[in-house]
């Protein structure tokens, strides 16, 4: 199904070679400098980590079916939730959208041949593999049970698990993140095509840029924190040990200085994807482009000022708590601005409920709930009651899964035809999107109530009266699991049996849709000169979008 007529004359044939067919040897993949191939390798690795983390999640939910600690021993349960957190956060959530979608799309979206520093990109991938391998090895040797937060003095002094090895894996992985961020910043500054001014950039690029700022400024601090933790664990003397005058709260300050901005590393790219989805599937220019662009930067900056809201009950000064609480309220504002702008974009748009749009709309609703409950937790009076309960667990799963993972799935579906040249089954796509949405809410909705009723997090057992809600939660988790496995099946199926997607299956004006699917190694046959604004659906885009759309509409093909 060729949609070249949506792109305009000039490119009349498929190029003979695209990035997938340009070399079939293992060496051509493992030593590639092509950002698209690196993105695909990240995609495979990230998906494997997601499934590993998901297995741990299943064990958690199965254990919590019954009030007693019967499926696994408490000590094992500690390892299970710790490892679920570590794998999901460090090896899935943080790299996923930047390393997969960002790597693939950023150069194409700005009209460049590749990232600015392709060998650094490859190094970033290698470092990710090494850190991941070390962590997996440590987990298989016996794992860690400290919680993904590694709080001292348990992690330094008392835990007899593989804290150092896992810490080292995370340390190494951090450099992968830093190098990716570094690469993106340089690329956006120096590699834009002629005519691609800052305010013509897609909002996905603005989001990646803001994320990269956070990666550069925040990740080194967790690196040094984990290094100090490892040193203290080895030599048994250090600055986090209260028995020699050290301060465990210092660990928490240094840890959360990164780990709070880390959640913005996770969610900002997701918001970038959602900006693309909402605008493109409403076929309407996004409302308040500059506001969304600057909000991304604002979230990145303000995100560094609120880390103490993870430490309200740790023993930190109550006055510091006040400052952090106030700023937590402030940091919600840019996110809210984005939410309003997306809603305004939808208004009077020509909305099509394709699978990616379902995920995009799902993000809006679920992130809203997650974000609002974050404000509950940011208010000191409430937080004292809700700290370390399932309310917190529900909150962060709403923003991280209901937010980031949903956005990631939406982005994968949206750009799948571009990356692979094949179209997946829209029917199964919609089914799984709805299963994910229903399953997710059934899993984590009851957890708000559980938390409010006082069920502590990280406990394998709980009072009997809370069992019904936990059963709902586990039931939801199974639905969610099915919903998340289905894309693996139908997306892989589409690689072999999917319909060829054509260059511009969604009939959209973005620069990535003006090259073939899959793109050639150098991204464009002829380097583009940009003369149109971002999200330009009319004639100014230089494309006959309406005409092409009237001829063929992908969603009518099942």
């Amino acid at each position: 199904m060729q949609n070249v007529d949506a792109i305009g004359s000039g490119i009349s044939e498929q190029p003979k070679l695209n990035y997938l067919t340009n070399g079939f040897t293992l060496k051509s993949w493992l030593l590639t400098k092509d950002h698209k191939r690196i993105a695909i390798m990240y995609l495979i690795t990230v998906s494997l980590f997601f499934m590993a983390g998901g297995i741990y999640a299943s064990v958690i939910r199965l254990e919590l079916l019954t009030p007693a600690s019967d499926l696994v021993q408490t000590a094992t349960y500690n390892k299970v939730f710790t490892q679920h957190g570590i794998l999901m956060i460090f090896f899935f959530l943080i790299p996923s959208i930047p390393a997969v979608l960002g790597n693939f799309l950023l150069p194409i979206m700005i009209g460049a041949k590749d990232l600015a520093l392709p060998r650094i990109n490859l190094l970033s991938l290698y470092i990710y593999w090494i850190g991941g391998a070390l962590t997996i090895y440590a987990l298989m040797q016996g794992g860690v049970d400290t919680g993904w937060t590694f709080y001292t003095p348990y992690s330094t002094t008392f835990s007899n698990t593989y804290v150092m090895a896992v810490g080292l894996g995370i340390f190494i992985n951090g450099f992968s993140s830093i190098l990716t961020g570094l690469n993106f910043i340089v690329t956006v500054h120096t590699m834009r095509a002629p005519g691609m001014t800052w305010f013509r950039l897609p909002l996905f690029v603005w989001a990646q840029y803001a994320t990269s700022l956070v990666m550069i400024l925040g990740t080194p601090v967790i690196a040094i924190t984990v290094l100090l933790l490892a040193i203290e664990r080895t030599v048994k003397v250090g600055i986090f040990d209260p028995s020699i005058g050290g301060d465990p709260i210092l660990f928490q300050h240094m840890f959360w200085f990164y780990s709070h901005p880390a959640v913005y590393i996770m969610v900002l790219p997701g918001m970038g994807v959602v900006s693309e989805l909402i605008s493109n599937f409403s076929r309407k220019k996004i409302f308040g482009y500059e506001f969304i662009a600057f909000s991304s930067i604002a979230i990145a900056v303000f995100g560094f000022l609120v880390w103490g809201h993870h430490m309200f009950v740790s023993g930190q000064s109550i006055y510091a708590g006040l400052v952090f609480s106030f700023l937590t309220m402030v940091v919600a504002v840019p996110s809210a601005i984005k939410m309003f702008n997306w809603a305004a974009t939808l208004y009077k748009g020509s909305i099509s409920f394709d699978t990616p749009m379902l995920y995009g709309l799902g993000f809006m609703g679920l992130f809203l709930i997650g974000g609002l409950t974050g404000l509950f937790l940011g208010a000191i009076g409430l937080t004292v009651h809700l700290t370390d309960t399932y309310f917190v667990v529900a909150h962060f799963h709403y923003v991280m899964v209901g937010g980031q993972v949903i956005a990631y799935l939406g982005g994968i579906h949206y750009w799948w035809p571009k990356m692979t040249g094949k179209m997946y089954s829209e029917f199964w796509g919609k089914i799984s999107a709805m299963l994910v949405f229903v399953g997710f809410n059934l899993t984590f909705g009851p957890q708000f109530i559980l938390g409010y009723l006082g069920m502590p997090r990280r406990y394998a057992s709980y009072p009997e009266e809370l069992q019904v809600l936990n059963i709902f939660s586990t039931a939801g988790a199974s639905v969610l699991g099915v919903g998340m496995l289905m894309p693996v099946i139908y997306l892989l199926h589409s690689l072999v049996w999917g319909k060829p997607a054509g260059d511009n299956p969604w009939m959209l004006p973005g620069l990535e849709w003006r090259t073939s699917s899959p793109p050639p190694t150098e991204n464009f046959e002829k380097m583009p000169v940009v003369t149109w604004e971002a999200y330009e659906f009319g004639e100014e885009s230089g494309l006959d979008l309406e005409g092409a759309r009237n001829r063929v509409r992908p969603s009518t093909v099942a």
């Binding site: 040094i224 100090l228 003397v237 005058g245």
Partner: protein, 296 residues
């Protein structure tokens, strides 16, 4: 590959060292420069974490830090500072001559830079050995073991604040290589002048007797030495990496790779080297010069 024909059948001359993703040298230089600075930004934050820890503990236990700092040899530290500054000069001049394409001066200056860098590491080695010999390594068992002699008479334990600074230094027995600290005279001084922080009032004193507790004070001094070793150790590691980079640069410079058209690798290596110098510029006063003014 310095030239190729593209689809338009035109020949393009590429400057030596131009990579395929860039249109021209200017774009490459700009990209590499921004990239290096982003790397330095993250390195600043990396060391920044350690400076934060330093800040927290120094504000809590200033007298322990002052005491520990006084035992560091500020002369060697100051000498090292000068050595690094000279190496920074030779590095900057290397960039200058690289841009001029003057191969011989480049090679001489890189060798000089490496020489001064090695001198720095040599002095550090002397300092660390000195700490090892005096029981100042904060890890139990990592200090020089000094057997207790049969003839050692344990003089009546003097209070730790009653120290005669003019007496010759005596080597105390240290059979297990422990961290040792016996001089808490600064605490007495601070107590007399009412300088102590809240944390110190609790942290140095035996709550029962109200006397200075030598072991508790020793533990706080040990924190100082932990931070000293981690910060200078990490810095030294960066120095070693810097020497590796210089070796690579030396090989390239020897082959006359650099000229006005292509000298960015030298400039970028220079940025790294200057960064390492800057870290030391802050480390020196903060670690070595803290409590000197209390001694007079």
């Amino acid at each position: 590959m310095s030239s190729h024909s593209d689809n338009n059948e035109e020949f393009h001359y590429h400057a030596p060292g131009l990579q395929h993703q860039f249109e021209d040298m200017k774009q490459q230089e700009e990209s590499v420069s921004i990239g290096m600075w982003m790397f330095l930004v993250q390195e600043i934050m990396f060391f920044g974490g350690l400076f934060t820890a330093y800040l927290v503990f120094r504000s809590r236990y200033p007298m322990a830090f002052a005491a520990g700092s006084n035992h560091l040899n500020a002369f060697w530290g100051g000498l090292n500072t000068l050595v690094l500054i000279v190496s920074s000069l030779t590095m900057a001049l290397t960039v200058y001559y690289a841009q001029k394409g003057n191969r011989n001066m480049q090679v001489i200056l890189i060798v000089l830079t490496m020489f001064f860098g090695s001198v720095f590491l040599g002095v550090k080695a002397i300092e660390y050995t000195d700490k090892y010999n005096h029981g100042l390594v904060p890890v139990s068992g990592w200090n020089k073991r000094i057997k207790e002699e049969a003839g050692d008479h344990h003089e009546a334990a003097k209070p730790c604040w009653d120290v005669d600074h003019n007496a010759p230094v005596v080597e105390h027995p240290n059979p297990h290589g422990e961290f040792q600290w016996t001089d808490c005279s600064l605490v007495k001084l601070a107590q007399d002048h009412n300088y102590l922080t809240d944390a110190e009032r609790v942290g140095y004193f035996n709550q029962g007797t109200g006397q200075i507790d030598a072991n508790k004070f020793r533990d706080k001094v040990r924190i100082f030495y932990f931070i000293y070793f981690v910060m200078t150790g990490l810095h030294a590691l960066h120095m070693i990496i810097g020497l590796g980079i210089m070796t690579w640069l030396l090989i390239l410079a020897w082959k006359n790779t650099f000229s006005a058209d292509y000298y960015m690798p030298v400039e970028m290596s220079g940025l790294y080297w200057h960064f390492v110098d800057i870290v030391w510029i802050f480390l020196f006063p903060l670690l070595y010069l803290l409590g000197r003014h209390f001694l007079h």
